[in-house]
């Protein structure tokens, strides 16, 4: 893999936009080494929407940040590869990855309240970003582009001179989306884009994302613990648990017939208004301590289907029908 692509559009049309192979990311704390991402392999095709779900702490955010090599210290990418549009993210230089960020990949963070620089106004955020990647653009033009973007996001363009704290949470998230898309990237990674927003605003943001995806032909990675969101937007779903990828498949199929016991429990725990007499269910136990994970399958302490093999041997990702799942129930070897 070369660091810089030969052609702007990538070498072949059917290469996945993002290809992650056996990625391992560890956090080195004073007390222990925590494996946040454990040998995850995943690829995202152009134009699709991949949903990445899991509980808090399962490693999905770290995985997202790894795609643009922004894992915060004391975390480090230990091994594996990340190929983004032909670029070797793990091994290329700081300067090369910096040029990729924002231009080829847009990133939306969870908390819009803290993601914007309080001392810069919205216009300056855009101008700074545009001029970082396209230094020849003059300020007036950059501002014009920003105003156009704001309009597309449903924000009054005159507000370009306002400061972040003058906007509500929903508006700030729109600004974040605008910043992420300002340079027409191919890929948009959204980490919990609606988690900190109330339900009505959430619906608006979802609409906005759908619209933008259509009009800009985006590839979208949606990281969330909100299963409903995934059901609505994603083409495929990847489920993570304790830093591992445990199920991967088409959205429809996953919801109709979840394979992994964890996925089943996850879907069961979401209350369904239409079903009468439903008893609220939950998954007993707690996610494992990633510094000292249990032997064998990380889910076995909470799994109602666990048997002998689960406690000794780690399940590998195997194909089952058209999905992939890491569970001994389906691994008949």
């Amino acid at each position: 893999m070369k660091c810089l692509p030969k052609f702007m559009g990538g070498e072949e049309e059917n290469l996945p936009l993002l290809d992650i192979q056996s990625l391992v990311v560890e956090y080195y704390t004073l007390k222990a080494v925590v494996k946040a991402v454990d040998r995850v392999s995943l690829s995202v095709e152009k134009g699709e929407t991949l949903g990445l779900v899991g509980e808090s702490g399962c490693g999905k955010s770290t995985l997202g940040l790894s795609a643009i090599r922004l894992v915060p210290s004391p975390g480090r990418i230990v091994s594996g590869s990340v190929a983004l549009d032909g670029i070797d993210v793990v091994n290329c230089s700081e300067e090369e990855i910096r040029l990729v960020r924002g231009k080829r990949v847009g990133y939306i963070f969870q908390d819009p309240m803290t993601s914007l620089n309080p001392v810069k106004n919205i216009g300056d955020h855009f101008v700074e970003m545009i001029r970082t990647h396209e230094p020849k653009v003059i300020r007036e033009d950059a501002l014009k582009r920003a105003e156009d973007m704001l309009e597309r996001l449903g924000i009054v363009p005159e507000r370009i001179h306002d400061f972040p704290h003058q906007f509500s949470g929903g508006m700030r998230q729109r600004v974040m989306i605008g910043l992420a898309l300002a340079l027409n990237p191919n890929l948009l990674i959204a980490d919990e884009p609606t988690t900190s927003l109330d339900v009505i605003v959430e619906a608006q943001i979802v609409e906005l994302l759908k619209r933008l995806k259509e009009s800009l032909n985006l590839t979208l990675i949606l990281i969330t613990h909100n299963i409903g969101l995934v059901a609505e937007m994603a083409d495929r779903v990847a489920v993570m648990y304790a830093g591992r990828l445990i199920e991967l498949g088409d959205t429809r199929r996953l919801f109709e017939k979840p394979l992994h016991p964890y996925t089943q429990a996850l879907l069961n725990s979401v209350p369904n208004i239409t079903k009468k007499g439903q008893v609220l269910s939950w998954i007993p136990g707690a996610p494992p301590d990633l510094a000292e994970p249990p032997p064998g399958c990380p889910y076995h302490p909470r799994c109602s289907f666990a048997f002998d093999r689960c406690m000794k041997e780690e399940p590998l990702l195997v194909k089952h029908d058209d999905s992939e799942v890491a569970c001994h129930l389906y691994d008949k070897r």
Binding site: L116, T132, H165
Partner: protein
């Protein structure tokens, strides 16, 4: 504009504080045990002389009258009369103040530059030996009495190495006269500025030579808190979401460090500068005494030695007003720089 109303409300808030302070100082001098006049004379004068003395200073009037006169006098800029020679305390303060101002400016410059530089370095090499040594420096510089450090510098650089003078503000005859054009004269009282106005580089060098040790001493002692503040602020800011978000947009490390991290971490540093002004004045008193620097601090210490209580009172009132003014300015500046407070 919201800024204007903030300024007004802030000023209004300062007034009761100043009033309280003035009253406090007044009562300390008058009401505490020990008649100031008697102590001043230390039992050496006849009752008649003492009465006359009192009358001259207005100390024979009833307490409420004195308080009223005191406040009224302050509004006119009258800070009382010295017990030594009945001269105006205000005049003496006015002539001694520029020296203290010059020392303060250079000292705080040293403190902030040294402190911010070290603090930023420590934050970037977190948990390294450099980081720990800088932190230790921060604490040690706080624990050293400023006059001890001054004396050590005098010993090493003045007496030992003969690099810098150990006392005074400038060699006699070298005082800069500022800008003179015929009858017109403009001088600030700050020797560095005045020598530039005069166009005399030699005087400038001399003034700086004398400034070096005292401002270094006071600056180092004050820097400790800036080291700690900068370090912890930078550490915090560098982990904030908007810094990561900025990096995710592909901004360069330099842009992130200066435009995002430092700009946000700077505001508390500015506030701290204002807060440290009080400590600066206190330190200046000791530094000026150590280096025989002819400023307000040394004036106060001299007046204490002479038990000149009215002068002491006047000087302390002046200090209080100065601190109140500076904190007002800093607050307004802060509001101007942080849009969150304004709107």
């Amino acid at each position: 504009m919201a800024l204007r109303s903030y300024i007004v409300s802030r000023i209004l808030l300062t007034i009761p504080m100043i009033l309280l302070l003035l009253t406090l100082v007044f009562f300390i001098i008058r009401v505490l045990p020990g008649d100031p006049v008697l102590v001043h004379f230390e039992k050496q004068a006849t009752p008649a002389l003492i009465e006359e003395f009192r009358r001259q200073l207005g100390l024979d009037k009833p307490l409420e009258q004195q308080y009223f006169d005191y406040l009224v006098g302050l509004l006119h800029g009258d800070l009382g009369k010295s017990m030594a020679d009945f001269s105006s305390v205000g005049q003496q303060i006015f002539s001694a103040f520029p020296a203290t101002l010059e020392l303060s400016i250079f000292s705080i410059a040293v403190a902030v530059l040294l402190g911010v530089f070290l603090g930023a370095r420590a934050s970037r090499s977190y948990n390294s030996i450099e980081d720990h040594s800088i932190r230790i420096f921060g604490i040690v510089s706080y624990a050293i009495p400023v006059f001890f450090l001054g004396m050590v510098f005098q010993l090493i650089f003045g007496i030992g190495l003969h690099l810098f003078p150990t006392g005074g503000r400038i060699s006699p005859g070298m005082e800069p006269r500022g800008l003179t054009a015929g009858d017109f004269q403009l001088s600030t009282g700050l020797y560095t500025v005045d020598s530039l106005l005069e166009g005399n580089l030699q005087k400038l060098v001399e003034a700086l030579r004398y400034l070096m040790l005292p401002s270094l001493t006071l600056g180092i002692v004050l820097s400790g808190i800036f080291v700690r503040l900068t370090r912890s602020n930078m550490l915090e800011t560098l982990r904030l979401d908007f810094v990561t978000a900025a990096r995710a947009r592909g901004l360069s490390e330099r842009a992130v460090l200066y435009g995002y991290a430092l700009r946000n971490a700077f505001l508390p540093i500015l506030t701290m500068m204002g807060l440290q002004f009080a400590a600066l004045l206190a330190g200046a008193i000791l530094t000026e005494t150590t280096f025989s620097w002819p400023g307000l601090g040394r004036y106060l210490v001299d007046r204490i030695a002479f038990r000149d209580y009215t002068a002491i009172q006047g000087t302390i009132v002046f200090f209080g007003l100065l601190v109140a003014l500076v904190s007002l300015i800093v607050d307004i500046l802060y509001a101007y720089l942080d849009p969150r407070i304004r709107f």
